[in-house]
């Protein structure tokens, strides 16, 4: 960032750019593997570390907590995942949730099953989670789920409150919800089956999401895109909303990890590399 624009305070700048995360990780790694890296050369190590961060290949074989630590890491991981398994999409194989999880675990040994499950739910609309999914479907759903994890969790909470017939405002104050939640659980269970079919009013959910975006600290999909999705139907349910978001080109572009759906299976550069082998 431009140091001449002194309007940004130091702390804010550091927080925004996640520089501290990388610095801290770099030093931690260095200390953990002192021997190897000393031999390798400390300066060289730092140079390589930050160039790999810049090149987005720093997430390879790293632990899950690191991969999800920053948005840059998340986007990098999604991109690596796409590049590594593009061939599966190309062959048109349909795979199960567990297989996708295993593939993810090859890149990140401790990748948790929950994220994969959530992604599978988006694709399969919450039912029949054992069904097979095509690679592109899963990839976009996974991108949305993994990149906007925190935001989606909050939206789900709001959605469930709406389903239970509660004022979404209560969600804002956590203390008041806890008691009401207890009451609503049974009611929700009963009504869930009937209500889930038609979901909630799009406008209501849109308002709530708008309010959420206002106070949300983490990253969220652009408001215009969400508005667009909400405007498509009068009633919306959570997973269909997510599916629409996952397929939204603009959001994909915003994240910037994956190519557009049309070009998903094309990776000229990599194909050339592979041909060489």
């Amino acid at each position: 960032m431009n140091r001449l624009s002194s309007s940004v305070p130091v702390d804010e700048y550091l927080a925004d750019s996640s520089v501290l995360v990388y610095l801290s990780d770099a030093v931690t790694q260095l200390l953990e593997h002192k021997e190897e890296y000393t031999q390798f050369g400390v300066v060289r190590y730092f140079a390589e570390y930050f160039s790999s961060v810049k090149n987005s290949n720093h997430v390879l074989f790293r632990e899950y907590s690191y991969i999800r630590a920053t948005l840059h890491n998340r986007a990098s991981f999604i991109r690596v995942f796409w590049r590594c398994y593009r061939q599966i999409g190309k062959s048109g194989d349909m795979l199960s949730m567990l297989e996708y999880r295993s593939l993810l675990q090859l890149l990140c040994p401790d990748f948790p099953v929950e994220v994969v499950q959530s992604a599978a739910r988006i694709v399969l609309m919450d039912d029949a989670i054992d069904c097979l999914m095509s690679f592109p479907d899963f990839l976009y759903a996974f991108q949305l789920q993994f990149y906007y994890q925190e935001f989606l969790d909050s939206v789900l909470a709001i959605y469930q409150d709406l389903l239970a017939g509660k004022s979404p405002n209560t969600v804002i104050v956590p203390t008041s919800t806890s008691i009401e939640l207890l009451h609503s659980v049974t009611a929700e269970e009963n009504e869930k089956a009937g209500q889930q079919q038609d979901g909630v009013e799009s406008s209501t959910l849109a308002e709530c999401v708008e309010a959420l975006c206002d106070r949300f600290k983490h990253c969220h999909p652009s408001r215009s895109c969400m508005k667009e999705v909400f405007n498509q139907t009068e009633k919306v349910c959570y997973f269909s909303f997510l599916m629409s978001l996952a397929k939204h080109e603009t959001i994909n572009e915003t994240i910037g990890a994956l190519p557009s759906k049309a070009e998903l299976l094309i990776d000229q550069e990599m194909d050339q590399e592979l041909d060489k082998l």
């Binding site: 801290s24 190897e36 890296y37 570390y49 290949n57 074989f61 590049r83 297989e99 593939l103």
Partner: protein, 771 residues
């Protein structure tokens, strides 16, 4: 005439003798006894005495012959006619001669062990009348072969001591109760069906009732002096009413229908018991007869040595016959009997030699060993079964624990259409299922004879030769199973070239010392009921220990993820890999086979789950995972590679990196291609499955250390950031001030140089001053 008679008497005897010895060699005892009598009798006063003597001898011969129930028809004609002649001769002289010799056979055999007895050929099957006693006067009535149908009325003859009524047609014993002096009563070969009529004969010592029709032993209550009781060839079913006969020495019950030996207690003087030709199948109570020396059991239904067990407890038994029993046909019959009855001197009328005893000893030891071995085997077999079952049980428990958490979150089971076509039912090469579905409730304590010290029995089986019994042991029907380690919940066994491990404890067997040859023989290892993560740390050891290993089989081992399979790359070579679908969720993944082929490419696997690996499989696997490998190899930061690679490759990489490092000016393009640094295998080598130890080394300590470290790092970075931002601030401030500072500096200079001469002088002065 006298000499002639003598001649006649002696000649037939000789004839008889030779006849018997020639034709009935087995009957020599009788002959011996007869001979003996002649020789032992003292010659009394000349003629008459001698005559009487002879007479007596004849009597005795007769008596003996009858008590031994000669079958006249079976005797050689010559011999028998000779005997008849004797009989006739005697008949003529019976009453004239003072035939009052008392045949005192009935005195307690004080000299039982004397010379006469000892040359007796023991083991003779029939009752013998003792003969050694001298003869004194007696009242005697002999009514042999008189076709009597009733007992004669002999009321006046109270003094009679010896009454012979053999070979008549008597049906009932009558008119005898007044003969209180009667010592010997011979009713051999009559038609008597009841024993009543003898109750009062309290002096009776010899009672001969052979060859009658008696059904029941009775009426002996007062005959407590009885020495000899002969009831052979009757129809008796049961031994009874004799236990008060505590002076009885000889009991002959041959040729009856007796099935059990019973009610013998109390016969404290019994030395001879004849039970030939009955239906006895089990020998009992013999040990309760303290004086029993001879026991004849020929021709019964004894089938096994177990039924003779109580013979071993008799301390006095020295002669025994068992011929004609099924048991006598057994191969080691003689030895077995000798082992059982230690003091035996004759068996089936043959002397026992030292050689026999020695053989018996050897046989006994062998038998014992065999028994122990088979017992051991049964125990072992049972233990093995239990161990496997318990391992299965524990495994179920573990699995339940493992599956519970994910089952809550989401259904882990895989839909049927999801199961790949090539994975199931490839069971060839798998061991048969020892039915883990059997009832589960086996408490660990229920195993037979759990070893007291430690839970393990080790049978170093190398010393045991392969023997046929092993085949019985092996469930799968193979021979030569060696048990390496066995406890109540694990089992390790070697079956030919297959090493089978059941339960986590069995992994311990891999750690111990193996003979080179044994280890070399192992080509297949089967894991069952062992968590794969527990197996992984042993793989390097397996690599070192079993150079010829070519096939790994995993039954229930909970392999659930592809990265786990990468751990298999650690073994030396592998031609076949079998991962059973049951208990290994990974097999339900469509990609597992491809991944195995890709990751274990260097093994050039021939078969996976019994299915051959074709070139197409390899290409397909390469297509699916090739990109992944390529990216992993080329794009992973090299410092990171150092951590991911195993030791040998790491050193290789390090060397290359350093080498390049010294050559300055390396192009980034060159460096980019990590893959070429360490060769093609690198891409695959990156997919490692971390074994448990590295991740779990003292977790608590680790967290403490890492949190400390994190705090330290944070502090360090904080300071760093502070300094950087301070520097930044200073820089920015300087930047702001710089224009005015610069203007000031310029102005100062200009002012100073306004008067050029003065400035020059001042400068010169300054210079000279410094010099």
């Amino acid at each position: 005439m006298e000499p002639e008679r003598t001649e006649r008497k002696t000649m037939p005897y000789r004839k008889y003798n030779t006849g018997v010895t020639d034709k009935y060699a087995t009957l020599t005892p009788l002959v011996n006894s007869c001979k003996l009598h002649i020789t032992t009798i003292r010659p009394p006063t000349p003629e008459r005495a001698q005559k009487a003597h002879r007479q007596d001898w004849v009597k005795e011969t007769k008596l003996i012959s009858t008590t031994h129930h000669w079958n006249p028809e079976s005797l050689a004609g010559g011999a028998w006619s000779g005997l008849l002649a004797v009989q006739e001769a005697r008949d003529k002289t019976t009453h004239s001669a003072g035939v009052n010799y008392y045949y005192n056979a009935l005195n307690p055999p004080k000299s039982a062990g004397g010379s006469g007895r000892s040359c007796y050929n023991s083991g003779f099957p029939f009752t013998r009348v003792p003969h050694e006693s001298p003869i004194s006067s007696f009242q005697r009535i002999d009514l042999d072969r008189h076709s009597l149908e009733h007992c004669p009325q002999l009321s006046i003859m109270n003094e009679v001591q010896l009454l012979n009524l053999q070979h008549n047609l008597i049906t009932k014993i009558q008119h005898l109760s007044h003969m209180q002096q009667l010592v010997s009563l011979n009713l051999y070969n009559n038609r008597i069906s009841e024993m009543s009529g003898i109750e009062a004969l309290s002096s009776l010592r010899i009672l001969m009732l052979g060859k009658n029709r008696i059904h029941e032993i009775c009426c002996l209550e007062n005959l407590s002096k009885l020495n000899i009781l002969d009831l052979h060839d009757n129809q008796i079913h049961r031994i009874e009413n004799i236990s008060h006969l505590n002076e009885l020495q000889i009991l002959n019950l041959a040729g009856n229908n007796i099935c059990r030996i019973e009610n013998l207690q109390g016969l404290d003087c019994l030395t001879e018991l004849n039970l030939r030709h009955n239906c006895i199948s089990f020998v009992a109570e013999v040990e309760r007869l303290p004086c029993l020396q001879r026991l004849f059991l020929s021709g019964n239904s004894i089938t096994s040595f177990d039924q003779l067990a109580c013979l071993g407890e008799s301390r006095s038994l020295s002669e025994l016959t068992l011929d004609g029993n099924p048991v006598a046909l057994e191969t080691w019959y003689k030895q077995a009997v000798l082992r059982c009855v230690l003091h035996l001197r004759q068996l089936d009328m043959k002397r026992i030699t030292d050689e026999d005893r020695r053989m018996a000893g050897v046989q006994a030891r062998k038998e014992e060993e065999k028994k122990r071995e088979s017992h051991k085997q049964t125990i072992h077999k049972e233990k093995r079964r239990l161990a496997i079952r318990n391992a299965a049980q524990q495994w179920e428990g573990v699995k339940a624990c493992l599956e519970l958490p994910p089952a809550n979150g989401a259904k882990e089971e895989v839909s049927p259409e999801n199961s790949p076509a090539h994975s199931p039912a490839q069971t060839n090469g798998l061991a048969q299922d020892p039915s883990p579905e059997e009832p589960r409730r086996i408490s660990p304590g229920s195993g037979p004879e759990r070893p007291s010290g430690g839970t393990e029995i080790r049978l170093r089986t190398n010393s045991r030769p392969n023997s046929p019994r092993d085949s019985k042991l092996a469930e799968a029907g193979s021979s030569g199973v060696q048990s390496l380690s066995l406890s109540d919940s694990h089992l390790a066994e070697l079956d030919g070239d297959t090493l089978r491990l059941f339960g986590p404890g069995a992994l311990e067997a891999l750690e111990r010392g193996w003979g080179v040859q044994t280890a070399n023989a192992v080509a297949v290892i089967t894991f069952r009921y062992i968590n794969f993560d527990a197996i992984v740390p042993t793989l390097p050891r397996i690599r070192v220990k079993f150079p010829n290993l070519s096939h790994l089989i995993f039954l229930e081992s909970n392999i659930s993820r592809l990265p786990q399979l990468a751990a298999l790359a650690q073994v030396r070579r592998l031609d076949q890999l079998t991962i059973h679908p049951e208990g290994n969720p990974v097999v339900s993944l469509a990609l597992w086979r491809s991944f195995v082929i890709y990751r274990l490419h260097h093994f050039n696997l021939q078969r996976i789950n019994g299915q051959e690996v074709t070139m197409n499989d390899v290409i397909a696997a390469e297509r699916v995972f090739g990109t992944l490998g390529h990216i992993a190899a080329t794009e992973t930061p090299r410092c990171r590679l150092l951590l991911l690679l195993e030791e040998s490759r790491k050193r290789q990489l390090q060397f290359l990196l350093e080498g390049r490092g010294r050559r300055t000016g390396l192009s980034p393009e060159e460096l980019r291609d990590n893959g070429k640094l360490v060769g093609e295998g690198l891409s695959r080598a990156l997919f490692n499955y971390p074994s448990r130890d590295c991740s779990a080394e003292s977790p608590e300590e680790g967290t403490v250390e890492s949190s400390e470290r994190a705090a330290m790092i944070e502090q360090y970075l904080q300071e760093l950031v502070q300094r950087a931002s301070d520097t930044n601030l200073k820089g920015e401030a300087l930047h702001k001030l710089w224009p005015s500072m610069f203007a000031e500096m310029v102005r100062d200079c200009v002012l100073e140089m306004r008067d050029r001469a003065a400035f020059r002088q001042a400068s010169l002065a300054k210079l000279s001053e410094t010099k």
